[in-house]
């Protein structure tokens, strides 16, 4: 490859990476705004019935959150790989992703959201997403050699995560397609439920794993424990079998419940390591000041996520928290505290000159997000736990008014979260535009 080809490719990586980060930042803002409106609707449903329709708000919120995360992950991967697949595939991937986004958004906004939890779009609209993800996988594995040399464990995480995203989506959509075609394959309700949640769990486990791998690349770290076969087997086991704890309450086979329980509890193995990392975090160890508060937030919310995930997977506790807002805040904390933060870190790292980023601004934004997430954890846990306890002791509808005052804080904290995400995404998106306008060919594959 000649020098000019290499330079052109760097420009391609730069532009491609920036536009995905711009898309990710923008959709994160819109998704949070819609989430805020939904929280208003939840807190004051009788006052705002016709203005905000939950049939649109909820699917649009989950859909755009997914788009934001996948776009951010794609931007991160484009930044990491040495482009080997040319401009045509880049464009096709972008077109596929945009078709998915536009068609999905239009159908949901027009009141025609269909599908299942988290996948609220038509099965047919998954085709452009599958196409786009396939190109991403192609690009990623074409760069396997250079990425493996840099960090085999990080590549393992990113590569496997992306394959899991792909598999989870296909699995989920194929089961829906079979059902739409009036097949008898999923006429058993529990089979249908189990496959649905296995698909969803595979998809989200893939997103988390791939983003962790991306973070390891950004930190230029080599998560060596994963090199040990025993720890690899434990990590793999956890990835494969946690899905069962999503519906303990269903009569799925008992051995799947036992496997889900063991797989979930094994996550505690990484708990102490994260606590140690969090305690030893020192701003002097980071090249750029802005990365420290973000990394600290990522470690903090990883610890919270692990602990809550393990506790919620204990069957007797699961009986209390299942179907309550406690599960919502667990998912929300992981999505914002970890996934969003890693994408933010990637988006900021793409800058030509990361030292020009104002660390105070980033710190301020991270503090806002942390504050709101802590508040939401307290608020939604109180609401969720009350529901869980009273659900067992009283009639289901009896305690609904009792919880209403607690939920009044939900939109207030949601507004703070919106401000934090808006503030941070603005920094990230603005930086992408500035970098694109200035001199994209100066882009360096830097680390933090």
């Amino acid at each position: 490859m000649s020098n000019s080809d290499q330079m052109n490719n760097r420009v391609l990586i730069s532009n491609s990476s920036h536009r995905y980060f711009i898309l990710s930042g923008t959709t994160f803002i819109v998704a949070t705004l819609i989430g805020f409106l939904a929280s208003v609707k939840i807190a004051l449903p009788e006052n705002i019935v016709s203005d905000f329709n939950m049939l649109t708000l909820r699917p649009l919120h989950t859909f755009l959150s997914l788009v934001a995360v996948i776009a951010g992950l794609t931007g991160l991967i484009h930044f990491l790989i040495k482009l080997q697949t040319g401009k045509l595939l880049q464009q096709l991937q972008w077109i596929g992703f945009m078709i998915f986004l536009i068609v999905g958004s239009i159908s949901i906004i027009s009141g025609n959201a269909v599908g299942r939890e988290y996948f609220s779009w038509s099965v047919w609209n998954s085709i452009p997403l599958v196409f786009s993800l396939f190109i991403l996988l192609w690009q990623l594995f074409s760069s396997q050699e250079s990425l493996t040399q840099k960090s085999p464990e990080a590549f393992w995480l990113v590569g496997m995560g992306c394959l899991f995203i792909f598999n989870g989506l296909i699995e989920s959509q194929l089961s829906q397609l079979t059902q739409l075609l009036n097949g008898e394959l999923f006429s058993n309700y529990i089979t249908d439920l189990s496959i649905q949640w296995h698909g969803i769990d595979t998809f989200f486990a893939g997103i988390n794993t791939a983003l962790y791998g991306g973070a390891a690349f950004l930190l230029n770290s080599k998560p060596k424990p994963l090199r040990k076969p025993v720890l690899f087997i434990i990590a793999g086991f956890s990835l494969l079998f946690t899905f069962g704890h999503h519906h303990y309450i269903s009569p799925q086979p008992n051995f799947l419940k036992h496997l889900a329980f063991i797989a979930s509890i094994l996550a505690m193995m990484s708990f102490w390591r994260h606590v140690q990392v969090y305690k030893k975090m020192n701003p002097d160890n980071f090249t750029h000041g802005y990365t420290f508060p973000i990394w600290k937030a990522i470690e903090l919310w990883t610890i919270v996520s692990i602990v809550s995930g393990v506790v919620f997977a204990i069957p007797q506790i699961n009986l209390l928290v299942h179907g309550t807002y406690m599960v919502v805040i667990h998912a929300m904390g992981s999505m914002i505290g970890i996934n969003f933060m890693i994408i933010l870190l990637g988006g900021l790292t793409v800058a030509i000159n990361p030292s020009a980023i104002n660390s105070k601004n980033i710190e301020r934004g991270v503090k806002l997000v942390n504050f709101s997430l802590i508040g939401l954890w307290i608020n939604l846990s109180l609401s969720g736990l009350t529901k869980g306890i009273l659900r067992i002791n009283h009639d289901y509808e009896y305690f609904q008014p009792f919880r209403e005052w607690i939920l009044l804080f939900f939109p207030v904290l949601g507004l703070v979260l919106l401000c934090g995400i808006l503030y941070l995404c603005y920094q990230m998106v603005n930086l992408q535009f500035r970098t694109m306008q200035n001199n994209p060919e100066l882009l360096k594959n830097s680390t933090v």
Binding site: R116, Q144, F164, G199, T202, L240, H247, P251, L319, G323
Partner: protein
């Protein structure tokens, strides 16, 4: 060079291994969920198989995006009540009227007669499939109550 090659091969092998394992788990889940429950849960399996009308009703449930506000067995939205046993609590006629006319927090739904009929069939199927939410802690750690209709009595 040899070390690098080994590392690369090991990484590829691990990715391939887990991807195949994940597909195998999906297949195992499908067949085990279809067959094992009859031994674990007595005669519950018949109650868990949807007939044609219920399956059509499940499609209406998905097409109308009912999951945005309601949950089944606690899975779904939390704005409205869980509808697993709405037929038992409110009755089919009331549920049918409420879906069409809407109410306190719920907008009216534009469903034709056939859609409404199969949706009620689906909700009736769910009603008979188990018990949710529970009113007391079950003996079974995971909540075997979900097919034990007597526990709600």
């Amino acid at each position: 060079m040899n070390l690098k090659s080994n590392l690369r091969n090991s990484t590829s092998f691990r990715i391939l291994l887990l991807t195949i394992a994940n597909l195998c788990v999906a297949i195992m889940v499908y067949f085990s969920a279809n067959s094992v429950q009859s031994t674990d849960y007595g005669d519950s399996s018949n109650r868990l198989v949807m007939d044609h009308a219920s399956r059509k009703g499940q499609q209406v449930w998905q097409q109308k995006n009912c999951i945005a506000c309601h949950s089944l067995y606690g899975l779904g939205g939390h704005l409205g009540p869980d509808l697993t046993q709405v037929i038992k609590r409110k009755g089919a006629a009331f549920t049918q009227a409420y879906i069409l006319a809407g109410g306190y927090k719920m907008p009216e739904q534009d469903l034709d007669k056939q859609e409404l009929k199969v949706l009620i069939s689906y909700l009736t199927f769910l009603n008979n499939s188990g018990t949710y939410p529970i009113k007391n802690f079950p003996e079974h750690a995971y909540g075997k109550y979900s097919t034990d209709l007597s526990s709600s009595e």
